[in-house]
Symmetry: C2
Subunit: 207 residues, 2 copies
């Protein structure tokens, strides 16, 4: 069943491990400085030949795009899901802050690869760049929807227009993640988060 002789293709069987290579690439881009991660370097780390990688992904731009797609599924998806849940505003906010300021672990470095890509936009090819832009719009839209629901339930009162506030939230999370990626103390970053988001939660009807 593992190798059905009727469907087995004709030529030399493929041994290239796409998934493993992709994970190596994600980890490399995420953990290390961006310009220290060349295609050559990824091949070295993944133990894969360069033409093999190019056969699988096409070029550097498409490789980065595949990396971003996978990262989006693994990391960004759950965050979006959290934002879409119908929990009290503070609860979701605290969960997000906790998630964003978590310590580095062997399987997931501090910071966010998506934020890193946004800040190093010029290193990206046109495909990945477009992908990043689309994801950013989706992220801001998710923040806006979250804020609107909380506003309708009188949990917060918007300090600015819905769109401006959503962009502010995005900017603040970007800043927090950038600081985490830079190796800042998580406690200090959390205190920044408390200050930055107090404009949302310290409303008059808490008095």
């Amino acid at each position: 069943m593992a190798d059905d002789p009727t469907t087995r293709p004709r030529g030399r069987p493929k041994t290239f491990d796409r998934s493993r290579t992709l994970e190596t690439a994600i980890d490399s881009y995420w953990r290390h400085d961006f310009d220290a991660v060349s295609v050559n370097e990824i091949c070295r780390r993944a133990g894969v030949s360069k033409p093999g990688l190019y056969r699988e992904f096409g070029n550097e731009d498409q490789l980065m795009d595949a990396v971003l797609t996978r990262y989006s599924e693994i990391v960004l998806g759950p965050v979006m899901a959290t934002l879409a849940e119908d929990r009290p505003f503070r609860e979701t906010l605290n969960a997000l802050i906790e998630f964003v300021t978590r310590e580095e672990t062997p399987e997931s470095p501090a910071g966010c690869l998506f934020v890193k890509m946004r800040s190093l936009r010029w290193r990206l090819g046109p495909i990945t760049r477009g992908h990043v832009d689309r994801l950013r719009d989706q992220t801001v839209a998710a923040y806006a929807a979250w804020l609107e629901r909380a506003t309708r339930r009188d949990e917060i009162s918007l300090p600015a227009s819905l769109d401006a506030t959503a962009r502010y939230v995005d900017a603040q999370f970007t800043m927090l993640l950038t600081q985490m990626a830079a190796g800042e103390d998580p406690t200090a970053v959390r205190s920044h988060a408390a200050l930055a988001f107090s404009v949302l939660t310290n409303t008059i009807h808490e008095e």
Copy 2:
């Protein structure tokens, strides 16, 4: 007097224009993507031979250090001076926000070269990196002194420890300048500033 024959050195007179080269380098690093600015590229832009530049500055690290020194004198110095002035807190804050969110002009791109260097720390040599770290400490210290004076005069009440608040202010200005460098709309960035700093100015005794 311009060429005193008693002090005129022996060999071929120097024609290398250090100041002009330095300004070309500042403009290049400031305006363009960091990895698009190689030593070769700076030589091309400045119309200077590569050995000439190396004779003048030593290597890339020392060139960047010289760039940072000059930038610090030109741009960071006046900001520090503004912070040290004894003006009402809001007045200084507004002046800083206005300065930071100014539009791009031919002689000064949007954003801040110092912030750019901080975010691209891995592109820097050891000398420039140390310089950046020192300047950052000085900046945070200047914010702290400014906040402390305002607190003593009861203009603001600190929402966290002096040090934590100073670091928060630094983080926020860094974020604003990063957004400006990314080409965001100055009005949107100013609205982010208003939200981020409201935690300092919206104190109880304004009620």
